[in-house]
Amino acid sequence: MATSLPTTTPDRGKNLRRSFHGWAALAAALILLLFPACIASGGARGKIYVHKTEPYTIDFNATPCAWYPESAPSAFQPWHNLDVMAGCNRLNRSGRGGIVHLTYDLYDVRWSSNAIGDIAKRNNIGTICFADLETTSILGLWNRYMIHVYGF
């Protein structure tokens, strides 16, 4: 009586595919864990272009604030004293700093100053009221972080 030989051979390829799927699922879970967009508090992100302004200081207690007339200079002008004129009973001043950050692979270069004290002294701001942070980023390679200080 002839013994029947097994008609199927172990499918090593199928086992490898199953193992790969398991590792791929684990990698996807880790990526989701590290994916910053999942966290609502992570902030607005853009891999190609970012130009946003956010509050930098958040401690307010009857804090006076300044209005800018519609003809205020744009953000790309060089540093100078921006005096607020119409609509305010007191002379309000503001100034801006700017740290430029270049990064590529292992190279990471930053320069300039965003120190609030430096900005205030440069723009004759005696009393600082609050500050905003303006971020500009292109492809994540060229980044500029500019602190706007408001006071009088």
């Binding site: 199953r18 398991g22 699922a25 996807a28 879970a29 989701l32 864990l33 994916f35 910053p36 967009a37 999942c38 966290i39 609502a40 508090s41 992570g42 902030g43 607005a44 992100r45 853009g46 891999k47 190609i48 272009y49 970012v50 130009h51 946003k52 302004t53 956010e54 509050p55 200081t57 958040i58 401690d59 307010f60 207690n61 009857a62 804090t63 006076p64 604030c65 300044a66 209005w67 800018y68 305010c88 503001s94 609050f130 500050a131 905003d132 942070l133 303006e134 706007h148 408001y150």
Partner: protein, 98 residues
């Protein structure tokens, strides 16, 4: 066994990525609340992000105060809307004062 593994993975993702699919929340930014009076006026300013590629907007304190016509800021909150893990993201800053 495969379906069990997928179910376990989905459960793990659901636990870790809380609020990933849809979030619309308001939280305080200013936590210095000692005898704070909100005031009569409010101002808002927004910034947006789309497809994780571009982000734009001015949600700074000055912009929000100007929108509401505030000359004195007493308190600040923020509202965040996030859809599909940040596919569309909007952050709104709300200032209170007079």
């Amino acid at each position: 066994m495969r379906y069990l593994q997928m179910a376990a993975l989905l459960f793990l993702v659901g636990i870790i990525c809380t609020g990933c699919f849809y979030s619309n929340i308001r939280t305080p930014l200013d936590t210095n609340l000692d005898r704070t009076e909100l005031g009569k006026l409010t101002g808002e300013a927004e910034l947006h992000s789309f497809l994780w590629l571009v982000a734009w907007g001015d949600a700074g304190t000055a912009a929000a105060a100007k929108q509401g016509g505030l000359t004195r800021i007493n308190h600040m909150d923020t509202e965040v809307l996030s859809v599909l893990m940040g596919l569309y993201y909007r952050q709104k800053v709300i200032v209170y004062g007079d």
